[in-house]
Structures are given as structure tokens and as C-alpha cells.
Amino acid sequence: MPIGPPFTPDYRKGQLTAIRKLRKNPRVLFVRLPYILSLVCIVAGIAWLLLLPLDEYSRRTYISENALLPGQVHAYFSGSEQHVFRGYKQELEGLIPGEDQEKGVSKADAQFTSEVSNKVQSILSAAGLKVATQAYEYTSSGITHQGENTYAIIRAPRGDATEAIVLVAAWRTADDELNLNGVTLALTLARYFKRWSLWSKDIIFLFPPDSKTGTQAWIDAYHDMQPASVQPLPLKSGALQGGVAMEYPFDHRFESLHISYDGVNGQLPNLDLFNTAVSIASGQMGIGANLQEMWNHNDSYEMRLQTMLRGMVKQGFGYATGAHSSFMPYHIDAITLKTKGEGWQDEMALGRTVEGLCRSLNNLLEHLHQSFFFYLLMQTNRFVSIGTYLPSAMLIAGNFTIMAIALWMRTGFDMDTQSGPTAVSTSAPKEKTSSSSEARSSKEKESATPSPEPSGIMERQLALPLTLVGGLHLLGLVPLYVFNNLSYKVSPIPQVQQLNSMTFLSISNKQQHYTMATYICIAANAILPTLLAAVLSSLGFTTPKPQQYLLIKSFSLLLLGLFLSTLATLNFSLSFMIGLLCAPLTFVSRLNPQTTSVGLRYALSTIGLLVLNLLSPPVVLLGLCWYTGVSVEHVLTQAAFGWDVWGMWTQVVVWCVWWPAWISGCALLGFSLF
């Protein structure tokens, strides 16, 4: 039915009649308008996001903190320091088992053995640093990750141990490559930095055996928040002001630097740190800087959008992307510099970049706070801040809230008694219902509206909807617990996996607990809503009334909207992605048997259920794994690891926000079958 006024000369009259009609028949206001508004919100939210890469909506980056002065100092790390670098590298290479084709031992698989650790310690203490080690052990999915961090502190020559900077050189990079050059570079820098007297902050050199667990154990212990399996730190310094991790996982010269900045749970470092790194690398050193694995960024709209979306995906999944990620939960800004490509930059160029970064951080008078903590980067020198991008996710989250409020208002009115015959006439095409369903619907109507007051105000019956929605949200804890505590058994005896996540992929002859659990979850998801609908409908006293269907949907969407809009301020990308995946839930509801024929009803609800099942959390997971070519076990092991070690919250959002809302939507469709 048209809402807009007919455009006639006497439009005033037309307007009045339209308003009068609307007042007489609020169906348009309550039933149609919310759908239109919700759809507009979703479309606007997506369109908003797509507009962001344009020049008019994004901004060029700039340094907010004047104290940083990036690239204003001359970096002296060169000359004979390279000879020392080669010497240290030879020394470390001597401790790595050589290539052995027969045994399948490759140099790239070398672990951070105690000999390497001892050598690193002796080099550092010979350079005059205070050295200490920390052993740790984590168990997740039945796999034990253990290792020993080695770290050393250059005490600021006239400092008072109140502030410190961390330089991280993990033995194995985030992609599990051997980071021999990075570690050697850190050792050389340690010896070189020790000679300078200008440090106002302590400099901590951290050598974790890998990029996943080592830094986490260290930073937890630094704040005395470590679990029992992690040793406390014997040597400490002041408040950490910033961190830089360096990765140089090959032997040839490099072309450009890749800067990773994503932290756990989508937390980001202060934009000033990223800008400083870009400014020093590309501005002062002439090394190109990349982000989000975009190697050939030509600054076009598509490239910007792709960069932004990649950043959003990483932020949304909330996993640690490198050794720097673990620092973020403690409000310590950190980034990883990784060398990439084949070019003419050598390790000294990376060393000078790190030197420049340290000099900049050393200048800081206050903790990094000036610039943005919430941003989306689309090029090394272009970003959008939270004020610009937030409406996008908020619009999508808002669509659920609008629908929930509309449904709530709608359940308070008994529209049938008020509108009377008009209501029936508006739904003209659906009039041809079979006599049996009509009889049932009339019976239903009676039971649904026990005592419609003359004003059309109806009492809401909240017990069943509240219990159902609350129960489903609590039920989400079951898959959350199961998926985080499943054991990834490689063999009957739990074997200690030496921190090598890549081996998970290669081993195939093991019990695939995670895959099985995923398929079971899919099956359960397919059955549960229908079962729920069948059980509730068949038990006489729990059979929901039409108003209660709307209330179930209202509560479910209200919670979804609430959670997602809150989440949007913390992890924009996750909120946006879940919001998009849940968008169909706004538009599904129980098909009214009164107005829909049996055949159409069954067909529509079956199709709807099928489509919704394609958007269920485990199916989306499978789809993503298929698309990216990563095994499901790997993803789920990582997720459980993230939960156990990094404190990753993505699963909670999936199982306690997305999944209950999804089950509610499916159950509503399922009710149409009965």
C-alpha cells in the first residue's frame, strides 16, 4: 500500500486522508515500515563502508605526538657493525643443525635450543647487558607448548627504571620461519645501543622461541598476571612505552618492509607508532612500507578497499598476527617489521630503521596517547578514524534494534480488533486459505487474544519468550566450552609438540576431533530449531501464541542489536561481520498459518531454513576454511589456543551472540512447519 501522498493539486487533502488511514490502520507503521527501515539501515551500512576508501572520507595520516620527531636523527648503525653482525650470525649458524636430506632435517626447522639460548645470553652479557631467562609452558587442545624466553636489559645510563622500550626478535616468525637474521640483528643492535648514553628509557631485548607463546608469557609475567605454568620474571624494568618486533626470515637482501599492527581481539596500537615506522622506513631510509600483505598497492579505490577489508578480517577474527600482538591488551603499543621481497636493502637498513624507531620512542615524554587507537588503514598513509567508520557498523546493529522495538510495539496492539475488515482486505492475496486452517486460526485468535481491551491494547505474555531467548543464550556456552576444551589428539599419548603449528597441517593420520565436532555441530544446528519448534508446539501448554512469536523475535533481535552496537565500539570489524551474517534474521519470522497456504508455508519455511543453515556459524567456518584452504582443525586449534593463551574473545561473540540469535531465527521458521 502506498504511503506517500498522491501528487495531485489538492495534495493537502490527500495527505490528510493518508494520515487518517494510517491512524485507522497502523499495520503499515508497525509491519511494513520497520522492514523498510531495517533494509535501508543495512544497505546504508554497507554503502557507508564502501565509501570510506574515497578521498573525501579518508584522511592522510599525520604524526600527532610532536615528541616523536620521526626521521629527524641520523642513524649511525652501519660500517663495522656489519662485520659484527656477520660474526654473530656465523656463531649462531654454527649451533643450528645443518641441512640433512636423509633425516629430513632442514635448517629452516631449527628450534631455539638451549645451546642457542646460551650463546645469545653470553653475547648479551659480554656486551654489558643484564640477562635473564624465563621458562613457560602452556597447554591447549591437549598440545603442550613450552619454551624459554631469553631477554636482556640495557639500563638507561641516567634513567630511573620508570620507563622502557621492548625490542622483540623471535627465533621463529609469526609464519613459523626461522628468523636468524632478525635475532642476529637484535644482538648487534644491543651491543651498539649499549654505547649510547642518550637513552632516557631502558631498552629490553626479548628473544622468545616463537611468536605465538613467548611474548605472551613474558608480558603476562612482566605484569605479574601469569598463570602458574609460567615462571615469574627475575629481572624487570619500568612501564613499557612501546614495542617493536623485527622479522628477517631469509638470507638475501630485501625490498620493502611489511608492518603488522593487529593485536589480539582487534586491538590496535596507537596510530602514531605505525606512522612513525612508515615515516622512518619510507621517508628517511627510502624503504617501501606495506601493510596487510598488499604488495602492489597502487592507491586505487579497489586496492584501498581490499587493504581495508583485509585489515577488517584480521581485526574481526581477533587473533595475534605476530609477536607484537600480545602487548596490546596491556596498553603497550607495538608493531612488527618484517622484511619482504628481493631488493637491495640489507640488514643494516633494517637496523637503522629500528634505531630510528627507538630514538623516536626514546623521545617520548608521555605514553603514546595523542593519536587514534581506533582506525582502519587503507594505505600506509591513509586511514579513516572511528568517527567516520563507526556509523557503518552501528547502522547494521541498529537495524536489529529498530526491528526489535517495532515488534515490541506491535505486540502491544491488537491490530485485528481495531482495523477489523480493513486488515483483512489489505491482505487480499492471502485470503484464499483453506477452511481447516481458518478454523484453526480463529481458534488461535481466540486463545491469543483472551481479553482484547476496547482500546486495542494487549497484554504481553513474556514468560515463554524470555525463557526461550535466555535459555538459548545460555545454551551457547555448551559449544563454547566444547570447542575450547576439545583435545587435539595426535596419538593416544599426548605428545609434546615443539611449538610448531605448521606440523598440524601435515599430520593427517590422527583422530580429527575438531572436524568431527564441526560436523556434529552442523547437524545439531539443522535439527535443533525444528526440534525446538516441534516440542514446543506439541506440548499443549507451551504452544506459543502469535504474539509470543513476535516477542521471541523481538527479544532475540534486541539482544543482538544491543551486543553488536556495544561490540562495534570495541571491535568494529567483528561487529560488522556478525551483523552482516545475521542480517537475514531481521526478515525471517513465523509464517502465519492464517494467511499462508499450507503448501506455500512448508515450501517457504523449508527454503528459509536451508538458506539460514548455510549461514550458521559452523557452516560459515567450513566455507571460510574451504575458501582460504586452511584446515578446520587448524583454525579451531588456533581458536582454542587463542582462548587459552591470548585471551581471545571471538568465540564468545560467535557462540553467545551470533549462535543464539541464529537459533531463534531458525526456530521461528521451524514453528511455521507446525
Binding site: Y76, F77, S80, R86, G87, A127, R158, K236, A239, H331
Partner: protein, 598 residues
Amino acid sequence: MISLFYLFLLPLVALSSAIPATSDYHESLTLQPLPQSALLASFNFRSNASEESFDERNFRYFPRALGQILQHAHTKELHLRFTTGRWDDQSWGSRPWDGTKEGVTGVELWAWIDASDDEEASAKWITLTQSLSGLFCASINFIDSTRTTRPVASFQPTGDHSISNNLHLLHGTLPGEVVCTENLTPFLKLLPCKGKAGVASLLDGHKLFDASWQSMSVDFRPVCPHPDECVVQIEQTVDIVLDIDRSKRPRDNPIPRPVPNDQLVCDTSKAYHSDQTCYPLEKTKEKGWSLSEVFGRSVSGACPLGNDQNSHDETVCLRVPHEREVSISLGALEIKKPDGVSRCYELQPFRDFDLVIPEQDATTQVPLEEPVLRAERTIVGHGQERGGMRIIFDNPSDTNAADFIYFETLPWFLRPYVHTLQATVTGRDGVRQQVPASQFIKETYYRPAVDRERGTQLELALSIPAASTVTLTYDFEKAVLRYTEYPPDANRGFNVAPAVIKVNGRDAANGRSHPIYIRTTSLLLPLPTPDFSMPYNVIILTSTVIALAFGSIFNLLVRRFVTVEEAEALGAQTIKGRLAGKVVALRDRLKGKTSKVE
């Protein structure tokens, strides 16, 4: 060992104070090379004035500027410290002067003030801090009531005070104060020779403030060798640990550039050693240095005001093994001490003195004394609301328990929960064990904070068993400050003063106990900080809202909304309206418009 050496200065002190009622002045410099190319230089300047001449304001060696302040503020004993950096007890051993001549990072001041009651003492304390602030060009005037405490057990007067005085001890710290040349200049001006002659001539700001650790102290106390004959004594010390490599760098080229390839010291025994590859070899030789190299100048003779002309004063002492070769300027006299590791030099007035130690193979080292206790204090936890304090005491002795007083002052915005005080003890076997804190704490003096008035004062008498490490932890809450109470660099965090530990050390020689002081590092407490542009935003927003609301409401109140027809009708009725209509019609006619366009 260092303390043993200072003991050996004691006879000198005793000798000098044995001559009553005469003004005298002594200065000395002790140099000791420390591991890792460090050099400890301890300067000591001490002068006396008889109490009568001090009371009559008859100053000879005693600095008049300070003396007048002390008299005005009725201060009977004063200790002022300026310290920067950290003493590295792992490499450098125990502290010089047993830590009695150093303070917390920044400025530390404590004094015994003669006053009838607490209020009067506080008023005089304020006078004292304000005056000292001007004298030493430091922010000592910022030691207000929130930073002032009255320690109970941590400090004892070192002078001889008459019983008639009603002394009040007040103690204040400025942990964030940066010690620099503006504090050194007034410090040197207090000396009789003003840094122009004597060992004080070595004190050049450029070198002094490039030191790894540095402590300047001023101690004022009355000393009574005989009950009826008292002198007031002022002792000033400067202790610095210089990095020999760094100090030897020329002043016009202080940048530690990478050394040229041919100067790189490499381990040639390595198989991979080549022109391009070098595993650096740390030097086994002891570094060579001279006074003029590390201090940038040589001693310009003895201070002629000091010492009686006939007595011989060993002004410069050097603690290196006797077999080390040391060459000195002409005219100075070398006296080797019987302990085998120290030698002293007598300086001549008006004659430059320099001391050169060539590079030599390290043979014997001067043994360093093991510190009696190691302490580390850090803030743990994270977040804007709560945190925790962790203090680790390590008793390195395998036989003796360490008894000490732990004294800390906390700013009022750090609210400790003393009931959460917990102790963990770790033996040498590394087994951690949670034990009640009362097992180590023998006595507690706790004075809770009052918001914006005074800080928390906590003094604990502790006893740490031999060969064990005790960790004390307690939780605290961070207060939210008022918007105006934040300093300009609020996001840096707030300084929390270091804790002071007084260990009851025992002399091996005579069994007398003497205090050893240890200070922990200062801490940085991050507090919840508002976005300081927020008030500005709020003002803008409220102004806009009020302007809009006022505008529209005002409009609604004073305007009448009528339709066009009504307005015409209304306008036609009034004389003014009719006149206006006429005027319009006339104007239209003049312009040649004949008919109105409907």
C-alpha cells in the same frame, strides 16, 4: 671493602673533630675503577665552625647562605640529596658510604627542626623548603604536606643534640626532579674554594651529568667532641660513577659511531674470522685513563684554604692494586697503604695534579663488597582502576638473617589495601611458598593517607632469613583526580617515591652496628586520565545546544505564526500597514509597474 676504606678515613674525622672550636676544612677524592669500564669517584668536602661563631653569624668556611637559612628555620640537622641514575649493585658491589650519602632518584630532604609542636615544625619546614628551593635552584618548594612524612624508625639523628631541643623529624622527596647543572653550581658555591681549586675543580657539569650514576649530598649536623664544646659541621659529597669509554670521548665528537674496521677487536681464533666477519672480543685489559681524560681537566692544586699548612692531608686516593702502574704529576707525594689495594696522594697548592693509569693486563681486582640486601620494587597488574605493588627482598648472605626497616611513602591517589599484604618466600632451591606476612614483619607503623592532604606512610620492621628471597605484595586502588589536579604530562604517569631501606649492618671489626641505606627505584603509576580536549568539546556542544534551544524557544515565544492571508488581513487593518501598502504601491508605480502580479 669500600666501607672499610671509609672507615679508614674515620681517624681523620676523629682527629679533625678533636680540635674543638676551630674552623677547619677538609676535602678528599677517592677513585675506584669498577668492572665494565666504570669509575667511581667520591668527592668529600667537610668544614666546621664553632657553635658560638655560628650563632654569632660569624662564618669562615661555613657557607653563609645556607647557615642563615638553617638559623631562620630553626633546623638543627639537615640532610639534602640530589641523585640520578641507578646504582648497579650486581656489577659494582655495595654502595659508597653504605648508602648514607645518597638519596632517592631526584631530591630527598630530611631535617630535624626545633619546634614546640607539630604545627610550628610544619611551618618551619615550609620555610626551610622554600628557602632551600631558592638556594639550590630545585623544586624543593613542591615538597608540600602531601609529600612530607615523619618517619618513626628509619632515620636517626647523626649529630649530638642537646636534650633541651624539641626536635621534629620531617622527610620529603621529589622523585621526578631532574638533577642538572643548575643544582651543581649553587652546590659548588657553598665550598670555600668554589670549585676553583682543590678536587672540586674536577667537577665539570658536562662530565658530571654524563655519569651513569651520581649523588650529591649536603649534611649539616652539630658535633660535640666534648659536652661543652660543640661545632657545627657541614659535609658535602659528590659520588659519581663515570663510564670511562664515554668520558674519554672528545667533547667535539661525542657520538659513539661504529669504530673503523681496523680498530675492531675480533676473536681471530674463530674459523669464520675474515675482513668482513668479526666476532667481537671483549677487552681483557684494564682500561687506561687519566684524570684529565675522564674529567676533562686536571686538579688545579690543593685548596689553599683547607688544612693547616703543617699537617699533611692525603687528598686524592686511588683504589687499585699496588702492582698497577700509576704515573702522577710532579710535586705530589704518593703514599701506599698497607692493605695492598689503595694509595693516596698529597697535593701541593697552586700546582696542577694529574694522574695517569696506562692500559694494563688485568691481574688482580680490588674485591668488591657484596651488598647486604637486594631490593626491587615494581608495580604489577594493569588497568585503570587497580594495581598491585610487589617488593622483592633478596638476602644474599648464607648465614645471617637481614634485619631492616622498610619505609615507603605513597601519594594519596594510590590507596593501598594493607589487608592484602602477602608474603612469598623462595629458598635457594627455587621453591615458592606462600607464608603469612607476619612471619617476617616484626613491627608495623602505618599512617593512612588523607585525600589531598597527606600520603600513606608505611614503615615495616622486617627480618629476612638467610639465603632466601621474600616477596611482599599488596593491592592498591587508583584514585580519580580532579580535572585541574593533573600535571601537563598526565599521560606519562605519576611518580611514586622509592622506598628507603635501613639495614642494621654490623662492623666486622668492632661489632658496632651502623646503618646501611638502600633505596629502590622510583615508580611510575599510570592513573586514569581524561581526554583533556573533552571539556572544550563539552563547552562547544553545550553552547550549540543552548543556542539552538534558546533561539527556537525565543522565536516561538515572541513570534506569532499566521497564514499569508491572515497576515495580509492583519496588515491592512493597522495604519502602519496601510501606509506601508501605499508606499509599496507608489514605488511600484514609479518603477513603471502598472499591475500587480498575482
